[in-house]
């Protein structure tokens, strides 16, 4: 799996690019079946309907206390952190593949989101955020009158 070797930031190091390349190649070959995965971060799916949109994400082990969803106009920002496993110094880490740490995702919609009616649920590691559109921004049919 991906072997991360830390190179101190700030110092120029010819190895940094090599280390990054090694990491990229490791990731490339370690996830052969996951398609269209967003680079470095949880994967989101976006759903649409007449009344607005819905965002779902695979976020197993999410720390709900640190989850922050904010809506400003047509922009939704989801900020979160996955629960970190604490272990003693004697523990040998044999494999570490699961993503950890913070993530942020900002999504822009073609309508203003009604923040008062928006809802979020978390179940079995799946986050679902329902984002209804403001009434004014909903699709309207214009009747055509014959002269």
């Amino acid at each position: 799996m991906v072997c991360r070797t830390s190179v101190p930031a700030g110092l120029w190091s010819p190895f940094r690019d090599l280390v990054r390349l090694q990491g990229d190649l490791g990731r490339l070959f370690s996830e052969p079946l996951r398609t269209q995965k967003a680079p470095d971060g949880p994967a989101f799916n976006v759903w649409k309907s007449e009344n607005g949109a819905c965002v779902t994400a695979e976020l197993p082990g999410l720390d709900l206390e640190k989850l922050d969803i904010s809506i400003v106009g047509d922009t939704v920002t989801i900020l979160g952190q996955k629960a970190v496993e604490n272990y003693s110094e004697e523990t040998r880490v044999q494999r570490r593949e699961r993503a950890a740490g913070h993530f942020t995702r900002t999504l822009k919609f073609p309508f203003r989101v009604d923040s008062a009616r928006s809802e979020a649920t978390y179940n079995k590691g799946l986050l679902t955020v329902t984002l209804p559109s403001l009434e004014d921004d909903k699709r309207k049919q214009i009747p055509v009158k014959s002269a």
């Binding site: 079946l33 309907s49 880490v93 079995k124 590691g125 799946l126």
Partner: protein, 138 residues
């Protein structure tokens, strides 16, 4: 406990040909390899696996000879009344196999699933826990 068997990553194939039995065959769902952390301490090995969409009812853990297999079945999920507009992940089942050494106390294996994360505790057998040998002066 660190080796992964090579044949676990392939998408599941339909076992029976379409000509047998009546009715149409359902397309087999995609199978993904879950990402895991393996932490080994003095007395146990802790395996953490990301299995979004899996709860204890549709998770199958089996230990056959020395191969530990995790199989998580995920029902197609998605908000009702919505159409998928943009996708970064696909819904599918999870499957992964590990080779377990003989030093594991098989009767003491415990599994807990919470928030789509499996915590599998594999205690080491008594004889496998390293013992300090006191050196006496002659």
């Amino acid at each position: 406990m660190s080796q992964q068997t090579a044949n676990c990553c392939k998408p599941r194939q339909e076992a029976t040909p379409a000509t047998t039995n009546a009715g149409e065959t359902t397309p087999s769902p995609k199978v993904f390899v879950p990402q895991v952390d393996i932490l080994e301490s003095e007395n146990q090995i802790l395996l953490l696996a990301d299995l979004p969409g899996v709860d204890q009812e549709n998770l199958d853990i089996s230990l056959e000879k020395n191969v530990l297999t995790l199989k998580g079945t995920v029902k197609p999920h998605g908000p009702e009344g919505y159409q998928l507009a943009y996708a970064e992940y696909e819904v599918g089942n999870f499957e992964r196999a590990f080779t377990v050494s003989n030093d594991i106390d098989r009767s003491g294996i415990e599994a807990v699933v919470k928030d789509g994360v499996l915590r599998l505790t594999l205690p080491k057998a008594k004889h496998a826990v390293s013992q300090k040998i006191a050196v006496k002066t002659a």
